[in-house]
């Protein structure tokens, strides 16, 4: 059946996220919170997460362009990113954020910070590119199944 095939596809995608450690167990905890009354909870959370995080990253990138760098703003945003990424289970993104806050900014290493932020951006974009189709597929599938 088509939907069965799609289901399998969705499941495979999901598993790959865990295998690649793009997601961690927090994600499964979120899934457990889903219920009949809000079956799209996880997707809603991620929609919000992506929206905010994209804005955060852009702000950071802008801040990195100013001279001198407004480290407070960058710090604050990184902190925010840390909290939200951790809460949704965005494992690799979180790791990158931690790297920046711990290693680079602390030492005032400008170039290193810039490089790390680039890496963070890359990781985040990749994460988003993976999760969004996943949710779209899920959504389409559930709609199809309702029919």
């Amino acid at each position: 059946m088509e939907s069965k095939h799609v289901n399998q596809q969705i499941a495979a995608m999901r598993r790959s996220f865990f295998d690649e450690e793009v997601l961690d167990e927090k994600f499964s905890q979120l899934e457990q919170l889903e219920g009949k009354d809000n079956p799209n909870f996880v997707e809603e959370v991620f929609t919000m997460y992506f929206k905010d995080s994209t804005a955060f990253l852009e702000t950071i990138e802008e801040a990195m362009k100013t001279i001198p760098i407004d480290s407070i703003i960058v710090d604050n945003i990184l902190h925010q990113l840390k909290g939200s990424s951790a809460s949704v289970g965005a494992n690799k993104v979180l790791k990158e954020v931690n790297k920046i806050t711990r290693q680079v900014l602390g030492k005032g290493n400008l170039e290193g910070t810039k490089a790390s932020i680039l890496k963070l951006r890359k990781e985040y974009d990749s994460f988003k590119a993976k999760l969004e189709p996943y949710f779209q597929l899920k959504q389409a599938n559930s709609v199809a199944q309702v029919k």
């Binding site: 905890q29 905010d52 407004d70 407070i72 710090d75 604050n76 809460s87 949704v88």
Partner: protein, 672 residues
């Protein structure tokens, strides 16, 4: 104001937890239905938390702004059982919120953050959080939060039972209510660092918090006169609330009321006398080293560091800091002072809270040296603040950081100075006003933004205030002195304008019942406090509100402040300061405008003109000129402050500041 009886237990039926007298918990489905307020500026986290809490069957209210949360809590004092708050929020520091909640509502608060650094967690402890969760928060961690509610109530019950019968009578209706137990005696055992017992005689002076929940007592002039007479009769060292109460023989006056008033009075006296006067009040042991640091020393140190112009220092000292000169011999190295200040933020804030409640010594203890200073300073200020308003406290507490907020400083200091002057019911003490107040601030000024990195320079305020207050008090003092302060009453008549402000305000205490016995003093002052604190503190706002509209709610004011505060808070480090000053000025003005109280406005504007014109504007301009990345240059602040202060003295001298004619007590009405 706190009508616990009016507040019905809101939660769902299934969740009703009925606390019987005696502390037994009768709950049908506890902890289900526990009413949780969760505050987090991150919508993703907020969403997840809400979901998890709901999964625990709690009754969840979510909130993405601290101010909103605070007003929710205030409007609905007994509507929540527990609060969970993020540490890192743009509009208000989570710890500030924590303090407020603890002081005003006495609810258990759980802090959470992605930051698991030891310092932050410690901060949570010292500020009285009952738990600290690291993000990502697991649902398992949330399942057990009800324990904090139970524990707290248990403690409160224990305290309640241990306390005197007076409390019982007052608190009777509350007991049957839900979570919110009146705090007075309850806090005795509460280990919250906020209300640590200090060395004071009256250990049960958690009254400030408790009085919140009791019918407010208006400390009128006559009442205060009676109080002072009783205290003098007993001897300040021996004056205990019970005896004072007996001597006063005022029906309807509770021991706690007297106790809290006594506490404030002591702080005030201590401040006047320059710290060493009332050993019992604060940590004497701590004080000594601290005094050195924060007292006149600060001036010296500051002067030494170039932050305080030498002439200012001289002025200050000449003006009558003589008393504190004893300490001046111990100039603390700048470094130390900075260190002290790095501690100060938490302490100061804490102290702030503590002053309201208690002496804030305990806080300091945690932080070591700086702490000692805190209580004294805070105490002193607090005392003044009590009659004058909260300004003192906030100033001190937030004193730690930069000299950035010179304008703020100016304004804050001014009111403080005045407050001090006014409160000086014993003329002799007046001269000493200066030292305690300014001290912490001065030292604060020296410290650069150290501790809290949250980008929110809470400390902004502090430093600048010191010099200002110092000078202003000094300046005012002579005036006060000569004006024949009535022995028992607040020097209502004495100093021009300024004094009129304070007493009136002081007696307005009960107008804003939310304030625990502290009266808002100068609107501008409070505003600045607010601004610097990044949050509209209830006390201060209340005070401000009182100032402005003695009986009006300070919402509009708060609104202005909130806005500006958020602006402030979000400033980057380098750019923040510049904006701060302008924001602050705006806030002041807007605050003044928003109140709508004629007198207040006049007063405020008057104040503004006094303070702002000289300081804020100047500063704003300067700031604009300065490179955006610069913090307010130190030199800029100090000199301006001093000159502004001196200038203002002149302005103040002619007693025409009747603009400060606030409602309760106009100069005319005050019996001299």
């Amino acid at each position: 104001m706190n009508s616990s009886s009016g507040k019905s237990y809101m939660s769902t039926a299934s969740s009703s937890v009925i606390w019987k007298a005696g502390g037994d918990v009768v709950a049908d489905q506890f902890p289900a239905g526990l009413r949780v307020l969760v505050v987090d500026d991150d919508p993703t986290c907020l969403m997840i938390l809400e979901k998890m809490l709901k999964a625990c069957q709690y009754n969840v209210t979510k909130c993405n702004r601290a101010e909103t949360a605070l007003s929710m809590l205030r409007e609905n004092r007994n509507g929540f059982d527990i609060v969970i708050s993020d540490v890192h929020m743009p509009d208000m520091d989570g710890f500030k919120l924590l303090e407020h909640i603890g002081l005003e509502m006495d609810l258990p608060v759980i802090m959470m953050s992605a930051d698991d650094g030891k310092n932050v967690v410690m901060k949570g402890v010292t500020h009285g959080a009952c738990d600290y969760l690291i993000k990502p928060v697991r649902i398992e961690a949330l399942k057990n939060i009800w324990q904090h509610v139970v524990r707290k109530r248990k403690n409160e019950w224990k305290d309640f039972e241990q306390s005197g019968s007076v409390e019982e009578g007052d608190r009777q209706p509350k007991q049957s209510e839900d979570a919110d137990y009146s705090s007075s005696a309850n806090e005795g055992n509460w280990k919250s660092s906020k209300r640590r017992k200090d060395d004071e005689d009256e250990n049960d002076e958690r009254d400030d918090t408790s009085t919140l929940k009791k019918p407010r007592v208006v400390w009128s002039v006559e009442l205060h006169q009676q109080f002072v007479a009783a205290v003098n009769q007993l001897g300040i060292e021996k004056a205990v609330p019970k005896k004072i109460l007996e001597l006063m023989n005022v029906p309807g006056l509770a021991r706690e009321n007297v106790a809290s008033h006594l506490q404030k009075y002591r702080l005030y006296l201590r401040r006047l006398s320059g710290v060493s006067q009332h050993p019992s009040n604060l940590n004497n042991s701590f004080m000594n080293p601290q005094d050195a640091t924060f007292g006149p020393l600060d001036l010296q140190a500051l002067a030494a560091t170039g932050q305080l112009p030498a002439q200012s220092l001289a002025t200050l000292q000449a003006a009558g800091l003589g008393r504190s000169t004893a300490k001046s011999g111990i100039p603390m190295p700048l470094v130390d002072q900075r260190n002290i200040f790095s501690f100060e933020n938490p302490k100061l804030r804490f102290g702030e809270a503590q002053q309201h409640v208690n002496n804030n010594k305990q806080m300091n203890l945690l932080h070591g040296i700086p702490t000692t200073m805190e209580p004294k300073q805070l105490a002193g200020l607090h005392h003044t603040a009590q009659s004058m308003g909260n300004m003192n406290m906030p100033v001190l507490s937030h004193g730690s950081q930069s000299s950035q907020n010179n304008p703020l400083l100016m304004q804050m200091a001014q009111p403080q100075a005045r407050g001090q002057m006014l409160n000086d019911s014993t003329v002799g003490l007046a001269p000493r006003l200066l030292s305690p107040m300014g001290q912490p601030m001065l030292s604060n000024g020296m410290a650069t933004n150290v501790s809290t990195r949250n980008g929110v320079p809470e400390n902004i305020r502090a430093p600048s205030y010191n010099p200002v207050s110092q000078t202003s008090s000094m300046l005012n003092f002579p005036m006060n002195h000569t004006s024949e302060l009535p022995g028992n009453s607040f020097p209502l008549v004495s100093t021009p304008g300024i004094s009129s402000l304070a007493p009136k305000v002081a007696f307005q205490e009960d107008v804003n019942s939310e304030i625990k016995g502290s009266v808002g003093f100068m609107p501008s002052y409070d505003i600045f406090n607010e601004l610097t604190q990044h949050k509209p503190q209830n006390w201060e706002l209340q005070n401000v509100g009182m100032m402005f509209n003695t009986s009006q709610h300070s919402n509009s004011l708060r609104g202005n402040l909130d806005h500006t505060q958020s602006v402030l808070v979000q400033q980057g480090f380098s750019t923040g300061q510049n904006r701060n000053s302008t924001v602050i000025s705006k806030a002041m003005f807007s605050a003044g405008d928003s109140t709508g109280h004629v007198n207040a406005q006049n007063g405020n504007q008057h104040l503004n003109s006094l303070f702002v014109d000289n300081t804020v504007r100047v500063k704003s301009e300067r700031v604009a000129d300065a490179a955006p990345a610069n913090l307010y240059p130190d030199h800029f602040g100090r000199e301006d402050l001093m000159s502004a202060l001196l200038k203002q003295q002149d302005v103040i001298a002619p007693a025409e500041n009747n603009d400060f004619d606030f409602d309760g007590y106009s100069i005319d009405n005050i019996p001299v």
